[in-house]
């Protein structure tokens, strides 16, 4: 496996040839914001918040997908990227019904963290106020579609780590939504094994474990990391 050398933000970085810009940046301590990316799951490239500027082309590229190549020159923090990241977070907040103050994930939410990171102090767009459901049919978990940002981490966790593929996305555009099995209440989805990996993967308070109140939710992401480590590296750190 050969090593590639590239430049990120003026800093020389070396990476394995099969790594992505995101992985190379993280190893070098350079922060590129992400939402739909979760280490251990396949990349999705849906949120577009990891877009970076690549010298030699006007097209922005998602760092979670872009493979490193020798001599690549990348910028991750330009005024244009900062404006686009803010727009992405504004669009996400406008698309759903995100009320942080009463959410179980308040204080432990990656969407909130993204808003802080982009310096979002108010919404310039008009809120959509869509009518979205809350599904409490499962005995251990619930899903509040108002908080879902369609990152599909739950879809990929359930498919790739658990192998059940209970979750998928139905509909298009603003009508797109998470569905369990054949668009059934989650409690009736026969493929669901109640493993909770979707809950561990969810960045917001959309998928939650029953029994936690406002700001109490703990996604226990450490457990997901443990499982991923065990499967990929055959390491069982306890």
């Amino acid at each position: 496996m050969t090593v590639k050398t590239l430049t990120i933000n003026g800093q020389l970085v070396s990476a394995r040839e099969d790594e992505t810009i995101l992985q190379a940046a993280r190893s070098a301590g350079i922060v590129i914001p992400t939402l739909c990316y979760l280490e251990g799951l396949s990349a999705h490239g849906g949120c577009r918040i990891c877009l970076v500027e690549v010298n030699g082309t006007n097209r922005l590229q998602p760092a979670c997908f872009l493979k490193v190549s020798e001599g690549m020159v990348i910028q991750t923090d330009t005024p244009r990227l900062r404006e686009y990241r803010r727009m992405i977070v504004e669009l996400l907040f406008a698309e759903g019904n995100h009320v942080c103050s009463i959410c179980v994930a308040n204080g432990r939410c990656e969407l909130q963290d993204a808003a802080v990171a982009v310096g979002l102090d108010h919404q310039r767009l008009d809120y959509l106020y869509p009518k979205r459901e809350v599904d409490l049919s499962h005995d251990r978990f619930g899903i509040d579609h108002n908080r879902c940002i369609l990152c599909t981490r739950c879809v990929r966790a359930c498919d790739e780590l658990e192998g059940a593929h209970t979750w998928d996305v139905a509909g298009r555009g603003t009508d797109a939504r998470l569905v369990a099995d054949m668009n059934q209440p989650w409690g009736e989805a026969k493929t669901c094994t109640s493993c909770g990996k979707c809950f561990m993967a969810c960045p917001t308070g959309a998928i939650f474990a029953k029994g936690a109140t406002v700001a109490e939710l703990d996604h226990e992401r450490g457990r997901l990391e443990f499982l991923i480590n065990a499967r990929e590296k055959k390491q069982w750190r306890v």
Partner: protein, 180 residues
């Protein structure tokens, strides 16, 4: 030196932001040396005065009275700060907006859930009409600064006020910019 003419106002809010303001505790005594509170729901001022230097506006614009009052507040104030998540985003006050209009909310609250004498309150000139949608303040008037939080913690309010007392627009960062 003239004290800063400070005001606070609440619209469609729960007054939690004002309670957090009171959590400034003994610093309020220091504040009184540098700021004169010319209007606040805590005191018995009837009319919003002219030439207010800075005003903290709590709550979303939820009814017609708020809609007209906030415009008067904007006109008479140099710096207007959206105070708390309801003013900045709509927050809980705006959760009714998914029902697309005011009537279902009124029907549910005053007719379906009434124990006795179900009736939607209606008194022209006295009971302000509910707006079809509850709006963040900046959708109605230009806002100079946004103080996030539900409520904004007292130390965040203090840092904001200290900037105002220094004659600057506040400029908070990082975790001070967190909703909720």
């Amino acid at each position: 030196m003239a004290r800063l003419r400070l005001a606070t106002v609440w619209l469609g809010g729960c007054s939690g932001c004002h309670m957090s303001f009171l959590d400034l505790d003994e610093w309020l005594i220091d504040l009184a040396r540098f700021a004169e509170v010319v209007y606040t729901p805590f005191m018995d001022a009837k009319d919003y005065p002219e030439e207010v230097d800075a005003v903290l506006v709590e709550g979303a614009v939820a009814n017609e009275e708020h809609f007209y009052f906030v415009q008067q507040v904007r006109q008479r104030s140099k710096i207007l700060i959206s105070f708390g998540d309801c003013a900045v985003t709509g927050n809980v006050t705006a959760m009714r907006n998914v029902l697309a209009s005011a009537l279902p909310v009124l029907q549910r609250s005053y007719l379906e859930l009434a124990d006795t004498a179900p009736q939607i309150p209606c008194e022209e000139g006295i009971v302000p009409r509910l707006l079809e949608q509850a709006l963040p303040v900046h959708k109605v008037v230009p806002v100079d600064y946004f103080m996030l939080g539900c409520p904004p913690p007292a130390d965040r309010i203090r840092r904001t006020l200290e900037a105002l007392l220094d004659g600057k627009i506040p400029d908070l960062h990082g975790s001070d910019m967190k909703f909720g």
